[in-house]
Symmetry: C2
Amino acid sequence: MALEKEPYKGVRDFYPKDMAIQNYIFEIMRDTAEAYGYEEYSASILEPSELYKAKSGDELINQQTYTFTDRGGRDVTLRPEMTPTVARMIAKKRKEFSFPLRWFSIPNFFRYERPQKGRLREFWQLNVDIFGVEKIDADIEIINIAYDIMRNFGVTEDKFEIRINDRSLVDAKLKEMGLDEDQSTKMKSLIDKKDKMDNFDQMTEALAGKPFSFELDPSDKINTAIKSLNERGISNVVFAPNLMRGFDYYTGIVFEIFDKSGDNNRALFGGGRYDNLLEIFDEEKVPAVGFGMGDVTMRDVLETYNLIPEFTSSTDISICVVDDESIVGAQKLASTLRDQGLNIIVDSSLKKIGDQIKKASKNKIRYVICVGSDEISKDIYKLKDLSSGEEKEVAENQIADSILG
Amino acid sequence: MALEKEPYKGVRDFYPKDMAIQNYIFEIMRDTAEAYGYEEYSASILEPSELYKAKSGDELINQQTYTFTDRGGRDVTLRPEMTPTVARMIAKKRKEFSFPLRWFSIPNFFRYERPQKGRLREFWQLNVDIFGVEKIDADIEIINIAYDIMRNFGVTEDKFEIRINDRSLVDAKLKEMGLDEDQSTKMKSLIDKKDKMDNFDQMTEALAGKPFSFELDPSDKINTAIKSLNERGISNVVFAPNLMRGFDYYTGIVFEIFDKSGDNNRALFGGGRYDNLLEIFDEEKVPAVGFGMGDVTMRDVLETYNLIPEFTSSTDISICVVDDESIVGAQKLASTLRDQGLNIIVDSSLKKIGDQIKKASKNKIRYVICVGSDEISKDIYKLKDLSSGEEKEVAENQIADSILG
């Protein structure tokens, strides 16, 4: 029986055209995070399983991780999220650091789920976090970065909305109602789903003895954040009192980027403040704010709005070689041009020139130069732009300038 | 008991300073491969275990893979190398492709080994391959790329050597000696280790009935390759008749980059021709030449030769804010500069200016600007270069030019 050619279920192969899109998405993420002074970090996908046990009540860990025992008897897990890893890294070196730290990473994660649109077993996620700032400035900066990434992808302000809430508002309200921690967690989960529920009042009454009625006004923090974001020219921020964000660890401002298009009409990604980082390491807490933005979701959004750039090869010129005698000369030309920063293929197939040009065109390479002994001896080359059809005669030392401008 | 802060045994955390080095190494690899028109591809680290069973005689697969069963009962493996994956990808789409394909990737691999210098359980490896070319041109191009990467890392020609052999030479010789396939494989393994053995003649005689004596002259292919590389200005290529390269699948030219420094004095990486790709998929064979270059080894080499660039922050300017009233103005300045392509931190800690500057300096940020109401109202800012100590007065619209040149 022949071997299966498909990848493992729920993961992707990245052929060059897919990889170009992936690299484009990562580049926008990276450039935007760096524009705010964030520095890249990373870690292995493989972590000791123990790292996730502090959160063992969590569905993610019990049912969705890839966990196994290595050949030496150690329990290991393919990381399903980045927060435990980054907490571990900061806990280890906290004494060497001077806070705040502005960090980002674009790691991959594994979750054992039924693959479906927008949800795969392996995905990548930009994680942007600022550690060590209690003031609201940090929350505002993080939301601003999330907004800038959307804009840098070409998504206009009318297409999305930034929804913002303050978990401490809700926590205070639930405490006032007399709920214990477990009830409180369940209540937040119900509030989070309110818009999709028919029986919200019934369910919350069953849980708390009386229905959870909304009388939440925006907190000072929310007002400050919205005002400050408005001052920065961001006008699509709204207070969303029933926004919870799933994770238990949020402690203050939470936000999500909501896609307003008919196609999606859902939260794309989000984040918030989690001031209990390092608690699992029995270390002094470090205040933190951050968000995570997945590649699968973002690619869907870019497709919806037709924002994925057309594929063009990273190769600048394909040099078509006319005959066997010209190969050495063609290679020398290629070498000179590479030293000038150009990316060059030498097509030494000796196929018909027309076929060599067709192949370059099919591969979305912009320029071709045909090289025979005549061109080499005279130092006059025809540089053809396949995107416009224009052709011009240039000497070797004019080629780079013609292309790079 | 507090949680462990170390990563899993044999894998690495990449703090920003480590990540900067890793990104530097990847950038040289990527830029060099792209200079030759190679396109990036990738795939998931998780593969169906079945993909590796065709090679089940291999120590790598039997003793060194991370293999486990997923929650749905599928056997999966963390890939230990890229060739089976790339073969799978090409087998799947071979009808859509027009060969040759020039492909590269920088994937990570897992191998369950005892961690030691230069060898970890997780490592990254540049894989550069050209598919679909039978002619020696492909072998020469691949060797040239390997050479260029070394040079682009700053390693001079006197520090390393390119050793080259032709497996088909040895295979013909072994056939002549009457060895079967199994004996032949064992013999190649002995030849590969000849330099480290005391009893080579005894061992080979025990295997083949008579000792394996070297009377190999360079093949035409080797002579052509060496001549062509010399013409390209590469003078450190030598014929190495006992070079085998471990993998069974090589069928022609093999080569390795050998570090001549006293510290290392060993093969850094290598590759060769393997024309039986796709055989495991019962598909028509595709000729292939390529090499793999690991990040751990390369980092060791760069350290040996003091070639790792000094860390500098990707952040261009840290804006120190004088007082609370100036934060909005500082943020506006930052936003303007970010739009001009600069990476900017706004330090809104309101700590003493001296401390803010010290922190920027500690973080290897090159420039600082201190912003108070005076600077904002007059549009005159002092741009201080922390690397030279120079300071100059500039208007907002002169800052980007001053820095980007």
